[in-house]
């Protein structure tokens, strides 16, 4: 029998049941949209990074950098005149805020135009410009033409450059422009000046940020290394870029993990829909088989239909994903900028590869999830032999076997996650296996739970309740699929909820421990971060100040992560939580004094510090590279390249910093903070760029940053809720519409419409309840995996999993509500049953 008439028939059948078909398409679309949106966000981060950072050092092979993130400018003279390295360029670069450009953060780039020919493409717009005095003394800067147009700025317009709260006034001398649109976007992230002006704005005296070099021989690199003094070093540009770029890779990987979840949801949805569609057509398939369609015909027909809708759904999904992706980019770029490295240019990048990935994912998912229903359809016996109870019996026999299979798969997943070499691919596969394995457990679990419910007396709540429960086990083959799907989706909800909840609690705890002071005093002038020692003394002696934690923070260069922050405490009031420590507290203090250091988890991960006796790490200092023994690793949520705590002596000796940059004040109990803050403000001059904030204010702002990071996951939760609802909608409708005959009987026997509706809604409620109950352990396991495996590998943080019972109730409520909602339509339809038709009387 040719396939085409079959396919045509099936398509027509689908068109008649438009809603169901639309749901199928929608399911595929949602899964694909999730994948595409996250992929767009990720590639956009990569592209934005290119435009913000990498492009600025595009052709250089090496850089000369210093520990304190600046080098003496004399080094450039030596490079040029003594070493004769012609392809070298001095660079001053720093992130600043420009108020006239919408308060954007841009890179202030000070360059020497004569050196630039080999390095950067900083095209000036020809024609209009005012270059007079650029080198001799003017404050002219160059910004991108597109920004100028956007904000209506012209040659001569003033701009205000903010570094912290330090403000400098400059004027626009010309525009950066390019015909190449990629270059044009890159230029948008810059404020370009002559190196002299940049040096003046940043008050760098006789320092510059770095020297870019193009070296084509190792001999030249060696020559330079020999020449450089202590505290200066030669790095390979690509390596540095990769190190900095790598800071956010893990974050992006975790995003992919979440997008995979969206795809899983889609797969379950499709499986549900197709499998129930097949069941609905059971009789039809039986007739077809009876009149001569082969198994292959049926299989092919079902698959073909699924694929047609898969393609349509994937296309819609890609379009939807592009839409969502654009929004996701904003959130992700903002998060990455806050947490890892500043992105001055945000570029939404939609590559053909992403689209291909999305389409492929959708089609593959549809194929995989349609495969088994198609197989079962192909196995339909010809109509004269149809007896539904037979296939149910067969399934019932399989149930224990499925359970054992499921256990094995779960065990395998656990093993996979525990492998020595963590790999994102393994993690995703393991995640999928967990879902799949759990799904196989559901038939047996459902049977058990129903039995428990019945024996617990549920049956005494009425005939309808008893019937509802019994109906579940009676059609286990279908109801278990439905409930497995609902369970998976609900567990995702639980998993994400527990993960974010635990995280938030940990952050709050951490903030309380580390930033526990009632009042914080620090400088907002990035060029003079030190607090005046007299001021510190005066504050210490204020009457209500019980104790004071004085410390300094200085960013220093790191080969492994671009930049790390060093802390040294005069008196450390913070409470640290350790993931590894070699010694108790008193010894730790002694170790610090001996020159040992503590590092944060992220630092340890980036610099490959392995916890064991004698763990060490080499840091670049003013005295050259120096190895430091690591005394312990503390849990930390500080972002970027990591933190290390050293003693004040070590900080002074190796990095030349002997100051205090921040104070935390602990007030006597019950002292209100505001009056003390006011007193301190009075001590300051009006121009002093010093910030006084209450501990609460700081905590809130830190929490706000972290809350942003979970916008994506919240979106995903919403997505799973939507998918949950639509997923089972179809399944529930199909399942319940099959009860038509039974409903006819009941109505004929004298059951009221209302009672019949009740029956269906009870059944739905139990679907939801049981799925929710089963979702609790799965969801808990999922959150454990998310926290301890995926999050830990992604961010390098560890934190405790906190289970709040409220989440479980929420989850059960969600699944029950979804199931009930799905049952409304069928219940209404059931109420309107035409009894004779239902009873097949005529």
């Amino acid at each position: 029998m040719g396939n085409r008439p079959l396919i045509r028939f099936c398509l027509r059948h689908s068109r008649r049941h438009l809603v169901r078909t639309l749901l199928l398409v929608f399911g595929i679309a949602m899964g694909v949209a999730g994948v595409v949106a996250i992929d767009i966000a990720k590639t956009s981060v990569g592209k934005s990074f290119e435009l913000s950072t990498r492009a600025l050092v595009s052709r250089s092979t090496h850089q000369i950098a210093g520990t304190g993130l600046e080098i003496p400018q004399q080094v450039f003279t030596d490079i040029r005149t003594d070493l004769g390295i012609h392809r070298s360029a001095p660079v001053i670069s720093r992130h600043v805020k420009v108020s006239e450009l919408g308060d954007r953060i841009l890179t202030l780039l000070g360059v020497d135009p004569f050196s630039e020919t080999h390095f950067r493409n900083l095209h000036l717009s020809p024609g209009e410009q005012d270059l007079s005095g650029v080198m001799t003394g003017s404050k002219g800067v160059f910004i991108s033409r597109s920004h100028a147009r956007q904000y209506n700025l012209d040659i001569g317009s003033p701009l205000h450059i903010f570094l912290g709260s330090r403000k400098t006034a400059v004027t626009i001398a010309g525009f950066l422009d390019s015909e190449n649109s990629a270059t044009g976007r890159m230029l948008e992230g810059l404020v370009v000046t002559d190196i002299s002006l940049a040096q003046e704005i940043l008050e760098m005296e006789d320092h510059i940020t770095r020297i870019d070099l193009i070296l084509d021989q190792d001999a030249a690199a060696e020559k330079i290394r020999e020449h450089l003094g202590e505290g200066l070093f030669l790095v390979e540009t690509d390596q540095q870029n990769t190190a900095v770029r790598g800071l956010s890779y893990s974050f992006e990987t975790s995003l992919t993990a979440f997008s995979m979840l969206a795809l899983f949801m889609g797969i379950f949805l499709i499986y549900n829909t197709v499998s129930f569609s097949v069941t609905r057509r059971h009789r039809l398939h039986g007739i077809l088989r009876a009149i001569g369609a082969t198994r292959a015909n049926i299989f092919f027909t079902v698959m073909a239909e699924v694929m047609v809708y898969a393609v349509i759904g994937s296309v819609f999904g890609v379009l939807l994903g592009i839409l969502l992706g654009k929004g996701a980019v904003q959130a992700v770029v903002a998060t990455v900028s806050e947490m890892y490295f500043t992105l001055t240019v945000s570029q939404t990048h939609i590559s053909g590869f992403t689209i291909a990935k999305g389409l492929l994912a959708g089609i593959l998912a549809a194929f995989v999830s349609g495969f088994f229903p198609a197989l079962s359809a192909a196995g339909t016996r010809p109509v004269s032999l149809m007896h539904r109870t037979v296939s149910e019996k067969g399934f019932n026999r399989l149930v224990p076997g499925l359970f054992i299979c499921g256990l094995f798969i779960l065990a395998a997943a656990a093993l996979l996650m525990r492998t020595a070499t963590p790999h994102a691919g393994y993690d995703f596969t393991a995640l999928f296996m967990i879902f799949f394995g759990s799904a196989l457990l559901t038939p047996l679990l459902i049977r058990v739970i129903v039995r428990v419910l019945l024996s617990a007396g549920m049956g005494s709540l009425g005939m309808m309740v008893k019937m509802a429960l019994r109906n579940i086990t009676r059609s286990l083959r279908q109801t278990s699929v439905l409930m497995a799907s609902l369970m998976v989706v609900t567990s995702v909800f639980i998993g994400i909820e527990v993960m974010t909840g635990s995280f938030r609690l940990s952050i709050i705890q951490w903030v309380d421990d580390h930033i526990g002071g009632d009042i914080h005093v620090s400088s907002t002038d990035p060029l003079t971060q030190s607090l005046d020692t007299d001021l510190v003394e005066k504050i210490r002696q204020l009457p209500r100040v019980e104790s004071l934690s004085a410390y300094n923070i200085h960013p220093v260069f790191s080969r492994a992560s671009g930049k790390v922050h060093l802390f040294s405490y005069r008196s450390d009031q913070s409470v640290k939580r350790w993931s590894w420590t070699a010694a108790p507290k008193e010894e730790l203090d002694a170790l610090l004094e001996n020159g040992w250091i503590f590092v944060s988890e992220i630092f340890a991960q980036r610099h490959h510090v392995i916890p064991r006796q004698g763990a060490a790490v080499t840091l670049e200092t003013q005295k050259g590279p120096v190895p430091f023994q690591v005394a312990g690793i503390f849990q930390d949520f500080f972002m970027g390249g990591g933190r290390a705590v050293v003693s004040p002596e070590t900080m002074a000796r190796f990095w030349g910093h002997d100051d205090i940059t921040s104070l935390q004040l602990f007030l006597a109990s019950d002292t209100p903070a505001e009056p003390v803050m006011e007193t301190i403000r009075q001590m300051l001059d009006p121009e002093d760029m010093i910030e006084i904030r209450s501990g609460n204010a700081i905590k809130q702002s830190i929490l706000a940053v972290f809350d942003n990071t979970f916008i994506i996951t919240s979106a995903l939760q919403a997505l799973t809720a939507i998918v949950a609802l639509t997923g089972i909608l179809n399944a529930v409708m199909a399942l319940l519409l099959e009860r038509t005959r039974e409903i006819g009987i009941l109505r004929a026997c004298g059951t009221l419409t209302g009672q019949v509706k009740q029956l269906l809604l009870h059944e739905c409620f139990f679907y939801g309840l049981i799925s929710g109950i089963m979702a609790i352990p799965l969801g808990t396991a999922l959150s454990w995996v998310l926290i301890h495996i995926i999050n830990q590998r992604s961010f390098g943080w560890t934190y405790e999993m906190v289970l709040i019972p409220g989440v479980f109730f929420q989850a059960i409520a969600l699944s029950s509500a979804a199931a009930l909602a799905a049952g409304i339509f069928p219940a209404l339809a059931a109420g309107r049953t035409h009894i004779p038709t239902a009873l097949h009387m005529e």
């Binding site: 019937m467 039974e742 026997c749 009894i835 005529e842």
Partner: protein, 229 residues
């Protein structure tokens, strides 16, 4: 109770075409008697039972069951009436698969909120009579066709309905079993003086009839069993 059928019209829309089942049909089905409805297949016999029981409504005319004008009652009223006064026996048994034999039998009473004890007592009596009391906790699928139909009969009668409707009650059974079933139905009906209206085309079943009606060309015509005898 008497069943009075007055001038009913009934037609079905069958995917585009209109099929007229009854046109100005009238009949009187006497109380306490066994009436058999006969006719060709598809002519509307089962529809008549649906109309009498209130499961369906005529397009025109009305049907009176005893003192109740069933055609003018709303759905709820009809359903409750059906519950309390009518017992239905089907060709395909139509037992609820997820309920045990006992539960199937007591279903209607439980719907009516009759106290458990009373339900059970009634059920027990009838089931014992049907010889199925030991199987009361079994599910229908474990019973043979004849046993299932017996349960169905018990279900129909357990509420002491005044009217029993049977649609091809032996249609799905072999001759021997069918005869036994028929005997059971008729005996129980006669014993309790219930009105039994039966649709069948089995002559053995029809032999039990007090009165025979035929459905043809949209009307109901009584056939004189005595004259045919």
């Amino acid at each position: 109770m008497d069943i009075q059928i007055s001038n009913i019209d009934k037609s079905f829309d069958d995917s585009g075409s209109r099929r007229v089942i009854f046109r100005r049909a009238s009949a009187l089905l006497p109380s306490g008697k066994i009436s058999v409805i006969m006719g060709r297949s598809g002519v509307g016999k089962s529809s008549l039972l649906n109309l009498i029981s209130g499961i369906d409504l005529p397009d025109k005319g009305f049907i009176q069951v005893g003192d109740h004008c069933i055609s003018f009652m709303n759905d709820t009223a009809r359903t409750i009436f059906r519950r309390r006064h009518i017992g239905f026996i089907y060709q395909f048994f139509n037992l609820i698969p997820v309920l045990t034999v006992l539960e199937n039998v007591t279903l209607i009473a439980e719907l009516d909120k009759v106290p458990q004890k009373t339900c059970r007592r009634q059920a027990q009596t009838l089931l014992e009579q049907a010889g199925l009391w030991d199987r009361r906790h079994d599910f229908p699928e474990t019973l043979s066709g004849g046993e299932q139909q017996r349960v169905a009969i018990v279900r129909a009668l357990v509420n002491e309905p005044d009217l029993v409707l049977a649609d091809e009650p032996t249609g799905n059974l072999d001759q021997e079993t069918g005869a036994k079933i028929m005997e059971m139905i008729a005996t129980l009906a006669r014993k309790k003086n219930k009105t039994l209206i039966m649709v069948t085309h089995s002559p053995d079943a029809a032999a039990w009839a007090d009165q025979i009606f035929s459905v043809d060309s949209g009307i109901l015509t009584p056939m004189d069993s005595d004259t045919n005898g």
